[in-house]
């Protein structure tokens, strides 16, 4: 049907939109197909590893080639098998890597210490490449211990009654530990809180607080009646 006059303009515009829609639909379809293909291949890789696990353990050449293929398909060979399939040593190594990554990632923000509880929460709440770790305090101990062979970068410390992983060299004296414990309990401390509860002189409060500020373990809040020194452990706490 050919339209004459003004109506032919409508048709023109009409057609243009239709062509555009068609073009976009085709692109979407192709993308979908490619994605499915990739998924199929990734699954095949996972199956392959499960079937040939033993062989791969023994044959470093095969292992290297396999890793290479995995890499080019965006699959992390480390994280490919289910947790139950792992032997304890490999499981521990993976946990250690995750813990190390978390300590690194949060170091600037937290000033280099993070509670073991938060580490566990972070590890168990993230799903990486389709699977999830289950872990407890004991696992963290073992994992951090095993990292010692690579140097003493991570260390477990007890402050008050809580365990932390420390990734800075800083040692804490008794006063500082007391401050950190108090700050972790209620979120922050002030000079008056320290004076009233620990019966310290102002200078003693100040110098310890300044030390903890200077390593980034406390942040100041000046919008309250008195300067509050907040613990970085409260950054991710849901109130």
């Amino acid at each position: 049907m050919s339209r004459k006059g003004l109506a032919s303009f409508d048709r023109n515009a009409d057609q243009q939109t239709k062509f555009q829609d068609l073009g976009q639909a085709m692109l979407r379809q192709r993308e979908e197909q490619l994605r499915t293909q990739l998924q199929v291949f990734q699954n095949a890789l996972v199956n392959f590893k499960q079937e040939h696990k033993k062989e791969m353990m023994k044959n470093p050449h095969l292992r290297a080639q396999f890793s290479q293929i995995c890499e080019s398909f965006g699959v992390d060979p480390l994280y490919m098998t289910a947790e139950d399939d792992l032997d304890p040593e490999e499981r521990n190594n993976r946990l250690a890597i995750r813990i190390y990554e978390i300590c690194q990632a949060t170091r600037d923000l937290y000033g280099g210490i993070i509670s073991v509880d938060e580490v566990i929460q972070l590890v168990t709440s993230t799903i990486q490449d389709g699977w999830q770790f289950k872990m407890n305090h004991h696992d963290v101990h073992v994992a951090v211990e095993s990292l010692k062979v690579l140097g003493n970068e991570l260390e477990l410390v007890k402050i008050g009654s809580k365990m932390y992983i420390k990734s800075v060299l800083q040692e804490f004296n008794a006063d500082q530990s007391q401050i950190l414990t108090a700050a972790d309990n209620i979120g922050y401390v002030t000079v008056s809180i320290l004076r009233d509860n620990f019966h310290w002189k102002t200078a003693r409060c100040k110098s310890n607080l300044d030390d903890l500020l200077s390593i980034g373990l406390l942040w100041i809040d000046d919008q309250a009646d008195e300067r509050c020194y907040w613990s970085t452990t409260w950054i991710n706490k849901s109130h």
Binding site: L27, D108, S214, W219, I220, D222
Partner: protein, 203 residues
């Protein structure tokens, strides 16, 4: 759906400029990330000095008002820089410091370098990225070699689902200039020198 603030937004010291230099760096980089995420989510192209969308207020600022170098602006309750839940807000000199850092990192630009009152253009994509996004879309939708008005690009029906839909005209012109410089578009002006339309080249 409203924007989900990161948990550090509920941490009261986040709103006080930190004294320790390393902590301050961390604090500023978290603010910058938050500003970018927030503006991207809410489609804010221009952010005023007090942290509100500057798109609507832009027209009310007198363009002749060039000699005013007072960068102070009241931080209001609706501002991104106020958290009413914990009753904390950023001081305006610290906001300026964050803006300046964004500018030095090419994440933002003064709308008018001579008069900061107009606020900043926020680049959650760089101008080059925007240029690529728009050029790619023109190509896919078969609109190469047709003349489009700025309005069609910003508010056209076809562009509705695109990330650049509703882009502030000032920003759009900057993006188009990038495309012109790289020979991917031609700008057509009317007799008064106003942009009448733009034609994109073939890929």
């Amino acid at each position: 759906m409203s924007f989900k603030f990161p948990s550090i937004y509920d941490f009261p010291p986040f709103f006080t400029k930190q004294v320790h230099s390393q902590t301050l760096e961390t604090q500023k980089s978290h603010w910058i990330q938050l500003i970018l995420d927030y503006c991207r989510f809410n489609k804010i192209w221009i952010l005023s000095l007090n942290g509100e969308s500057g798109d609507s207020t832009l027209d009310h600022v007198d363009p002749e008002d060039e000699d005013d170098d007072d960068d102070y602006a009241e931080v209001t309750k609706q501002s991104l820089f106020t958290n009413n839940k914990i009753d904390r807000s950023l001081k305006s000199d610290f906001i300026m410091e964050i803006y300046n850092e964004m500018i030095s990192k090419e994440k933002a630009e003064w709308v008018n370098p001579k008069n900061h009152k107009h606020g900043i253009i926020v680049y959650w994509h760089t101008l080059e990225e925007w240029a690529n996004i728009i050029f790619e879309w023109i190509d896919i939708t078969g609109q190469s070699n047709t003349v489009l008005t700025l309005y069609e690009l910003r508010k056209g029906d076809l562009a509705k689902t695109q990330e650049f839909y509703g882009m502030n005209p000032t920003v759009l012109i900057k993006v188009l200039n990038v495309l012109v410089k790289t020979d991917r578009a031609q700008i057509m002006k009317d007799d008064n020198g106003k942009i009448a339309g733009v034609k994109f080249s073939d890929k």
